[in-house]
């Protein structure tokens, strides 16, 4: 039964749409342009967000927690011991790192063991971890040679300034801490702000741990696996949220060591992310304003159509069409135009999004271009809502016409 009735409304709606080709074309074109523009805008904004967020990881919200013990060297002969910045620190076991990694809001946590012997510092890193790359040293900062690999035993990366000073190059060897290391890479972590500070040398944390356990000068100073936890926060949430995560990380470490800890952080990713999210929000706002404009245009057009058809609406009412029949008829006309426009607009927007870089209209270098299903659905829904809004007032107006009044206008 519903099928029969719908078929009837669709039939006359399509008749009417075909009869007023120019008006239909103008309305549908409006929806096509609006939805296509919406898809392009949102996809580009989304791509921009994805790309910059990825890039911002390097300067994102990451920090280091450690337990400072003293600024005085515990050894009277030589500067020796676990050190972070100007503090000699406590050490702790790896399970603390794993626990921190599982905290809400933490994307990654990595152990760090930085020790000093005389004038030489070495940072032990878990080479594959995101938190290591964002907070200590990353492959992008290798200026010569290569980045460390997890199974490197006697290999180190050395700081560029230290390499210059010591006239060291890749493949050279360096004697330190009773070990002979081979220089596999020269790095410049100073390109970005590094909470962990800059060590003279970097080696896999496993190697640094073994070295401290076997080197007599460290024996009584280092009892744990690491002296700092490097943390990367999930790329979401506001400043307050980030502070909450930081607090929970610090409390976890303090709970294990039993002493007051300290945070060295870097959070410029947060305002940057806020700016980027503004871009995406603006894209939504501009798109919705455009759809609203098209809706107003379609509304005016549909109203015009109703005024032109006043007598015909009167005839339909005279032969027994109800107010609701008239409303459905006008609404279906509007929705059909909006749906068709929305559907074509989605296709046009999809194609243009990927065509624009090829045509040189936008720079697509490093841009992660995707048209997500959410954007497509949003485009279709916007067109449909627009069409319903554009159809309701004219439909209501048409339905409320008194038949005799409408016929008199003939």
């Amino acid at each position: 039964m519903i099928g029969i009735v719908l078929e009837m409304y669709n039939y006359y709606a399509i008749k009417e749409i075909r009869r007023r080709k120019l008006r239909t074309a103008a309305n549908t074109m409006g929806y096509i342009v609006a939805v296509a523009f919406m898809i392009i805008m949102l996809s580009l904004a989304h791509a921009y967000t994805l790309t910059t967020t990825d890039a911002l990881r390097g300067i994102g919200t990451h920090f280091m927690v450690f337990i400072p013990a003293t600024t005085q060297c515990p050894c009277e002969f030589l500067d020796v011991g676990p050190i972070i910045k100007e503090f000699y620190t406590e050490t702790f076991n790896m399970n603390v790192v794993e626990e921190i990694k599982d905290l809400p809001g933490v994307e990654d946590a990595a152990p760090y063991l930085m020790v000093i012997l005389g004038n030489l510092t070495i940072g032990g890193i878990d080479v594959d971890r995101l938190a290591t790359k964002t907070t200590a040293v990353s492959p992008e900062e290798v200026v010569e040679g290569r980045y460390l690999e997890a199974d490197d035993d006697d290999a180190v990366m050395i700081d560029e300034v230290f390499a210059d000073l010591m006239k060291l190059d890749v493949d050279d060897t360096i004697d330190a801490f009773d070990y002979t290391f081979k220089v596999v890479g020269i790095v410049n972590p100073g390109i970005h702000s590094r909470p962990a500070g800059i060590a003279h040398m970097y080696a896999p944390i496993r190697v640094v741990q073994e070295m401290t356990w076997s080197y007599s000068a460290f024996n009584h100073l280092i009892g744990g696996d690491a002296n700092a936890v490097l943390v990367e926060i999930l790329p979401e949430g506001d400043v307050e949220y980030i502070n909450t995560v930081k607090e929970s990380v610090l409390e976890t470490l303090e709970g294990h060591v039993g002493k007051k800890g300290s945070i060295v952080g870097y959070g410029c990713g947060t305002p940057a992310r806020n700016v980027i999210s503004l871009t995406e929000e603006n894209a939504w706002a501009i798109s919705l304003i455009l759809v609203a404009s098209v809706t107003l245009f379609a509304l005016k057009s549909q109203l015009g159509s109703v005024v032109e058809r006043t007598t015909e609406i009167g005839i339909l009412k005279a032969i027994g069409w109800m107010d609701s029949d008239i409303m459905k008829q006008i609404l279906i006309e509007s929705v059909l135009q909006g749906f068709t426009g929305g559907l074509i607009g989605c296709c046009v927007g999809y194609v243009l999004t990927f065509l624009m870089p090829l045509l040189g209209l936008i720079s697509a270098e490093n841009l992660i271009l995707t048209v997500t299903p959410l954007i497509i659905i949003a485009g279709l829904i916007a067109a449909l809502i627009g069409a319903i809004v554009a159809g309701i007032l004219p439909a209501w107006r048409a339905a409320k016409l008194q038949p005799a009044e409408a016929l008199r206008r003939f």
Binding site: I4, K317, A318, G320
Partner: protein, 235 residues
């Protein structure tokens, strides 16, 4: 089969006032008391502007009166909602207008079907009924023509065919021969009279004289919205 003699429509002090833009009022129908019996052929005769069309609109539930009542089968139309009035027009009343009032975008066949569209019958049944009506009015070969593509006389035939689509008990015809040539007019008159006599459909025709109202069983005259005698009406 309708029973002859019983009252189908009764108007009581029926009045319709139109407000003009300048604030003055025009009484198009002025305290009209009229009964229309089932199966009757009533002619309402009056000059242009005498209120015939307004009276037909009020009787046919196309308009609401300013005061007074229209009783249709004993029920006051004033008590019915817009939806109920639409249903009454759909099921019981067929309109034939002087200017045909056909839908220009629809073919002859569709113009009849559209009257059946809101009813819950299948599209096949709709088509069958519309085709039969076209056949009765000798318009079958014009089924796919738009109203503008057929003659004026054929348009009026089509309008009558549409009015009959829902098997109404009442046909309201407003100057049905006013726009057409005498020969086609005669055909139209014959069809309408036949409907009344053979099928017992109540027929109310409004005319200013082009329709041969002497064929009607009863004639009432209207002047300035009031029912008057033939002499007063100037006929």
């Amino acid at each position: 089969m309708e029973t002859l003699g019983t009252t189908l429509i009764e108007t009581r002090e029926l009045t319709k006032v139109y407000l003009r833009k300048k604030g003055s009022q025009v009484k198009a129908v002025n305290e009209v008391n009229l009964k229309v019996h089932r199966g009757e052929f009533l002619a309402i005769v009056g000059r242009s502007g005498s209120g015939k069309t307004t009276l037909l609109n009020l009787i046919g539930a196309l308009d609401r009166p300013t005061s007074g009542t229209v009783m249709f089968e004993g029920k006051s139309l004033g008590d019915l909602s817009n939806r109920q009035l639409a249903l009454l027009r759909r099921q019981k009343v067929g309109f034939v207008f002087q200017t045909f009032n056909l839908l220009p975008a629809l073919t002859a066949l569709e113009n009849i079907e559209v009257a059946l569209a809101p009813t819950r019958i299948s599209s096949e049944e709709r088509r069958e009924k519309a085709t039969t009506l076209l056949d009765i009015f000798e318009l079958k070969d014009r089924a796919d023509h738009l109203p503008l593509e057929i003659s004026v006389g054929q348009r009026q035939k089509l309008a009558i065919a549409r009015a009959l689509a829902s098997d109404p008990i009442l046909i309201l015809a407003d100057e049905p021969t006013g726009e057409i040539d005498p020969i086609t007019g005669k055909e139209i008159v014959t069809k309408l009279v036949e409907l009344n006599r053979r099928h017992n459909v109540t027929l109310v025709v409004a005319s200013h004289g082009t329709f041969p109202y002497n064929l009607a069983k009863r004639v009432v005259f209207l002047r300035d919205g009031k029912l008057v005698s033939q002499e007063e009406a100037g006929y």
